[in-house]
Symmetry: C2
Subunit: 223 residues, 2 copies
């Protein structure tokens, strides 16, 4: 539900771009799928023109690969790409955390702490689904706290791209309490206004997320 349907002033191409992106992210369109213009046009009940414009739009997000005259395919994410994305994500999030430590206002700090504390119960209950949702909220608050739309948009885009891989991480055994503990260090550093510590803690945290994902990926591919 990214696009409020009530936003009447949206072109079909915009809507299509969102729909296609969602389909890619939720796995309906797996990596390697050919994005046939006729097929997409028929599926969404429009002509090829808006589909083409949506594809152009998606091209710049990295979700799809477009080779002129040869069509578009859902981007195959190699493990090398994945590492690049995770490193970029870690660095950007660390930067956001740094800026939060330097510039969050009292209201934002209080909200951040409140949200973080509220996840403690979810950890104890072992509710992976609810924790994953709260986790996203926490990170989004940190993006917002950076007070820099350019950085936070970029971070949000990366997060969307990595979403299919991140959601798996909480299945790693014992990941929930660890995640909470890492968040604790981050939030503590931000609230204390310690920029360097916030940066380091977030970098560490996201790196561990990558490790957790790889652990899950290995065990599930071995199973």
């Amino acid at each position: 539900m990214r696009d409020t349907p009530s936003a009447g002033s949206m072109t079909r191409a915009d809507i299509l771009a969102g729909e296609i992106a969602d389909s890619i992210i939720d796995g309906t369109l797996p990596p390697g799928s050919r994005l046939d213009e006729h097929m997409l046009a028929e599926r969404y009940g429009t002509s090829r023109t808006p589909v083409r414009e949506a594809i152009r739009q998606l091209k710049t997000t990295g979700l799809i690969d477009v080779r002129p005259r040869r069509g578009a395919v859902v981007a195959e994410v190699t493990s090398r790409d994945l590492e690049t994305l995770f490193v970029a994500m870690a660095e950007i999030e660390a930067t956001c955390a740094r800026l939060c430590a330097l510039g969050m206002n009292p209201v934002e700090r209080r909200r951040l702490q409140a949200l973080h504390q509220s996840t403690r119960d979810l950890v104890e209950a072992g509710d992976q689904t609810a924790y994953a949702a709260a986790n996203i909220s926490l990170h989004l608050q940190i993006y917002a706290g950076a007070h820099n739309p350019v950085l936070s948009d970029f971070a949000a885009g990366l997060r969307r791209r990595l979403a299919p891989f991140r959601n798996a991480q909480f299945r790693a055994p014992g990941r929930l309490p660890l995640s909470f503990a890492e968040h604790d260090v981050i939030v503590e550093a931000i609230l204390a206004g310690n920029a360097a510590a916030a940066h380091a803690a977030m970098l560490h945290h996201v790196s561990l997320v990558e490790d957790a994902f790889e652990q899950v990926a290995r065990s599930s591919s071995a199973a």
Copy 2:
């Protein structure tokens, strides 16, 4: 010359996107200009379709603002936006410098030092134009040295967007030797593998670039 014209496999829309972006960056299309599809189509000798696709593509870069059914205009960059962009640029470049310190291979380190040293002569000669070009090369090398296409693409995009404002900075009195001295600290830290120092030095450097720009902007608007 971003787009090699010899790359035969490029669609008209891609070429147009590049042309329009260049026109915006070099000032041919000043902020606030309406991007009339008929006009652009006629100017570039094509139909409206590729123009529309180019506009879609540019929409995601932040260079233009598109309001559905109301056309596209070259984005007005407010001073607030500008500060946001400069901060984002500083953070990303600092991150790249950090990664360079951690991961540049010997060849890259030697090349970086060689390029930096070669700019010393330009400073002494007071050649602002040549120095500006060398300055870009230096920063691009640092992007590349981060070994992360996601980050370096983002950095390059930001640099393009800020290009019109950055070029002015070297007109600030005494900026050239200062710039060189700042580069010296950055390069030194990278070569020494000191990640924290490289990060801090680059952050400092880009912040000073912003200061220098504002100084030039104020004096020229006051003149």
